[in-house]
């Protein structure tokens, strides 16, 4: 496309693009995947057994962080950590939460891919997304 063609393009103002972004977010909020994720996340937060299992696992992880980093846990400590992790992961609400999160992520990845292919930039990478927080 040459400069003349570009000059004839109607430029979308920042406000107009942001409005389209709002409509996009509003449509995403109405999807079954997002609704299920929100409902499940809420139930997960309210579930005392799941929260206690999470806390027990995280406390032990924190206490043994130095040993974990050095890969120096004893076999008994390893077993204890695995037991606490399983006690958390095997809670029904945790399984439901993880499934809902995966389903929502799959939808968002599909949408992100569509955006990336069309605009010529990797959407997630451009926005600094990292799986490591």
């Amino acid at each position: 496309m040459d400069d003349v063609a570009f000059d004839n393009l109607e430029i979308a103002s920042v406000e107009v693009v942001k409005r389209a972004a709002h409509d996009f977010a509003a449509a995403l909020v109405e999807t079954p995947q997002f609704k299920t994720f929100e409902q499940t996340a809420d139930r997960f937060r309210q579930d005392q057994a799941a929260q206690q299992a999470l806390q027990a696992y995280q406390e032990k992880q924190t206490a043994w962080r130095a040993l974990l980093m050095l890969n120096a846990l004893s076999p008994e400590q390893h077993s204890e950590l695995e037991r606490l992790q399983a006690a958390f992961i095997n809670q029904r609400i945790v399984q439901e939460y993880l499934t809902a999160q995966t389903d929502l992520a799959t939808l968002c990845q599909t949408l992100g891919d569509a955006l990336s292919e069309s605009v010529g930039l990797n959407y997630a990478a451009s926005c600094g997304a990292s799986c490591c927080g």
Binding site: L9, V17, F24, V29, G112, L121, S126, A129
Partner: protein, 124 residues
């Protein structure tokens, strides 16, 4: 398996794409990309730099980089930085990325979660 998108979701996605592409930042980026693609000198410079850097990394891994090789990479980097078409492309790309981040913030604020983080395929 890819999820089926509702009509509303499809339309909203297409509208966001259309508006992003019509934004000033992306129009500038496309224009700079077109200019770069049409300029043989600029493309040749970038190819040379890419090849030299790959060679340089290989030599570094093998533990043997000479001063002459360091100088040749620096010289080529300076040539790239003096090329207006390449620099205009790099700057326009950065501006498009910044705009995309701004739009992602808008979306994420409404969702209550970082949309880009969920859209990321990479896993640790």
């Amino acid at each position: 398996m890819q999820p089926t998108l509702t009509t509303t979701m499809q339309e909203a996605t297409q509208s966001l794409i259309d508006n992003l592409l019509a934004s000033e930042a992306f129009v500038r980026y496309q224009r700079a990309h077109t200019r770069l693609s049409a300029d043989n000198d600029a493309r040749s410079l970038l190819n040379q730099l890419s090849q030299l850097q790959a060679h340089f990394r290989q030599q570094q891994a093998n533990g043997g980089v000479t001063q002459a090789e360091i100088n040749s990479v620096r010289e080529l980097q300076q040539k790239v930085q003096r090329n207006q078409i390449i620099m205009a492309y790099a700057q326009s790309q950065q501006e498009a990325v910044n705009f995309l981040r701004e739009i992602n913030n808008e979306i994420s604020q409404l969702l209550g979660i970082d949309f880009a983080a969920l859209a990321n395929h990479a896993t640790c």
